[in-house]
């Protein structure tokens, strides 16, 4: 171990080595581990007034997790029906959004990587990126304006005579699905694009030459090759969609809650950070478990994804 560090410092020079170590420590420690650790710790504590912090009442408890599942003891239901239902709906919707994004982005990524040429491909990449220079909130509002009852889409369809009553996109949550679907597509396109781009074109031609129809080329050659990219794209889109806040806040119908909104409420309106932390920790772990299960089901190894 000592020899390792000595070699490390010799190889990179003292100042650069120190800089590397410190920045990695800041990244790992301050940005990743510490916040998660405090969140985790918080979720097992009572919500006490400042005066009682560190006092005899400040002990660890499972009460927030209990509440999350069983609800308040005064409530008539034996389970926390509202929150559990919101959780399930959030996860199911996030999975649907992920599948939809994959279906949408795979062809785009393939087109960019193997069909489009030179200037046209670059133009497409720019067209994909530029909208993301705009803040997420603003994009959500833009969707809301576009999909509102007197928004451009309803206006156009009324004018064209397709409908005679405006469709309640927002009320019916269509706007939410559209917003969520759009929010993270870049994170789906680029990993897949990266994976497909390095695929040897000759392999596609070889398969073609051996008589393969296009669908089989994708099934047997392109998709297996792009699997790590597809996995990392799906993981990111799923995680971020399940944890999205801006789109549900702005585009969600009044009767629909996203799980993150409940967390947000505990932190901000409920002024109960401990309970909010418990919800957040639960969301984090359950999404991780779902991702790992999905990877197992599709036979992807974690090492391949970070390739």
């Amino acid at each position: 171990m000592k020899a390792y560090w000595k070699a490390f410092f010799l190889k990179n020079g003292v100042s650069i080595s120190a800089y590397l170590l410190i920045s990695i420590m800041i990244w790992l420690g301050m940005l990743i581990m510490l916040p998660q650790f405090f969140m985790f710790d918080f979720s097992f504590r009572f919500n006490l007034p400042p005066a009682e912090l560190g006092g005899p009442k400040d002990v660890y408890t499972m009460s927030h997790y209990k509440y999350m599942v069983f609800g308040s003891e005064q409530a008539s239901d034996s389970y926390n029906v509202v929150d559990v239902w919101v959780f399930v709906r959030t996860i199911v919707t996030a999975i649907c959004v992920t599948i939809f994004d994959l279906a949408l982005c795979y062809p785009i990524a393939y087109y960019l990587a193997h069909v489009a040429r030179g200037g046209w491909a670059r133009l497409m990449v720019i067209a994909l990126i530029i909208p993301y220079w705009v803040n997420e909130l603003l994009r959500a509002f833009a969707f809301k304006i576009m999909l509102g009852t007197s928004g451009i889409i309803n206006d156009f369809m009324m004018w064209a005579g397709v409908i005679d009553q405006p469709i309640e996109f927002v009320l019916e949550n269509y706007a939410l699905y559209a917003g969520l679907g759009y929010a993270f597509i870049l994170l789906m396109i680029f990993p897949i694009y990266n994976a497909i781009e390095s695929l040897d074109r000759n392999q596609i031609e070889a398969a073609r030459d051996l008589g393969s129809p296009w669908w089989r080329i994708h099934k047997r050659i392109v998709i297996p090759y792009a699997k790590p990219g597809i996995t990392s794209g799906c993981t990111m889109v799923f995680m971020l969609t399940a944890g999205a806040l801006a789109a549900p806040q702005i585009l969600g119908g009044p009767s629909s809650l996203w799980y993150t909104q409940i967390i947000y409420q505990w932190f901000n309106q409920g002024n109960n950070w401990q309970r909010g932390s418990a919800y957040a920790v639960f969301l984090l772990f359950s999404t991780i478990v779902i991702v790992l299960l999905a990877m197992k089901a599709f036979k992807v190894k974690l090492g391949e994804v970070s390739r």
């Binding site: 030459d209 089989r216 090759y225």
Partner: protein, 369 residues
């Protein structure tokens, strides 16, 4: 089954660039045919037109007498072996080999059986469960051949498949390829920039330059009787003299060069003698046909100054300065244990017979393109 391949007035253009101009070739059923040329000469373009990855801009490609226009690569009776082999890295060797059967909907048991047969053919028995990256270069090469043969093509197309191998293996694979071709008896069309490969394996060779066919003939004819200056300078080594034709007779031409009056065979292209009196001409003589005159009688004699000797084991290469010759003149002689004689710096008389030399019209030289 096997089929002949016919290229009829084929032109292939990419925008303004002409990759193949007016190609007319008839490759016989069961023939081992090579396209030989340096990179960018259009040989790969022609191969892609035969395999169906591109369509000729003009003209027709016929396989087994059938016009291939509008027929995609997956529907043609051809199989292509790629330069980088393009094995599927995520499939096992046996799956690679039998991919064409998988496409055709053949059951797994039967595919495995076929794979075993082909693995026997390429001397890789029992290696079917390996992944391609677990094989050596030569083994991958053979798997690529098996994969192509599994599709039972009428014509096998090979795009410089040996170029990635080291010299020893390459020479071994030449013999192997030729043997496989004779065993399966189908038409092979082979693309290469390596004249050694083209000359050793092929029944016939088409020498190409800048999208044009320079000569189609068997290996010895291409080597001994080049029809154009390009072929003479591209295939093997040749000494070059330049001059003007002063006389032609009975298939020979006399060329007046600054180095002397030299007689050579008059090159024949498409059945016609190329030179007539008064033409500017190139005269080619191979290093191994050039001799020290030393009192012997030769049709042609030239005076030369010995520049240096190079020892190459079985050969001596001797270089000369010849007055009026644009380039250094080279003579190869078999090393039979004796010395070259003719010291560096001395003057020597060189001679060669007219039958060994070829005179062509002034044209493109291979190293000047």
């Amino acid at each position: 089954m096997s089929a002949d391949v016919q290229l009829d007035n084929v032109w292939i253009r990419f925008g303004d660039f002409v990759a193949a101009r007016d190609i007319n070739i008839h490759i016989q059923d069961g023939e081992f045919f090579s396209f030989l040329g340096s990179s960018g000469c259009g040989k790969t373009t022609i191969l892609r037109a035969v395999s169906g990855f591109s369509e000729p801009s003009e003209g027709r490609v016929l396989i087994g007498g059938k016009d291939m226009a509008g027929i995609g690569p997956n529907k043609r009776p051809t199989a292509l072996i790629f330069q980088n082999l393009a094995l599927f890295p995520l499939m096992k060797v046996w799956e690679n080999i039998t991919f064409s059967l998988e496409v055709a909907g053949v059951g797994k048991a039967e595919r495995k059986k076929k794979a075993d047969e082909l693995l026997d053919l390429i001397a890789l028995s029992g290696q079917g469960e390996k992944m391609p990256n677990e094989l050596s270069g030569g083994q991958k090469q053979r798997v690529a051949i098996a994969r192509a043969l599994c599709a039972e093509p009428d014509v096998l197309l090979l795009d410089e498949p040996l170029s990635a191998l080291d010299l020893k293996l390459r020479q071994h694979m030449r013999t192997e390829l030729r043997a496989i071709q004779q065993r399966v008896g189908i038409t092979f069309i082979y693309i290469t920039h390596d004249q050694g490969e083209a000359l050793t394996m092929s029944d016939n060779v088409a020498v190409m330059s800048q999208g044009k066919i320079e000569q189609v003939a068997d290996g010895t004819t291409v080597y001994d009787s080049p029809e154009t200056s390009f072929v003479a300078s591209f295939v093997g080594e040749n000494n070059l003299f330049e001059g003007k034709v002063s006389e032609v007779s009975e298939g020979y031409a006399i060329v007046d060069t600054p180095s002397g009056r030299l007689r050579a065979r008059n090159a024949k292209h498409n059945g016609e003698y190329q030179l007539k009196t008064g033409d500017d001409a190139f005269l080619f003589i191979r290093p191994e046909s050039l001799k020290f005159a030393d009192g012997g009688s030769y049709d042609n004699q030239i005076k030369a100054n010995v520049l240096q000797h190079e020892f190459e084991g079985s050969f001596w290469q001797v270089f000369f300065n010849v007055q009026g010759a644009r380039r250094t003149i080279k003579l190869s002689m078999v090393n039979d244990g004796g010395s070259v004689g003719h010291e560096k710096g001395s003057e020597a008389q060189l001679g060669f017979s007219a039958d060994k030399a070829v005179a062509t019209p002034v044209g493109m030289l291979a190293d000047e393109t």
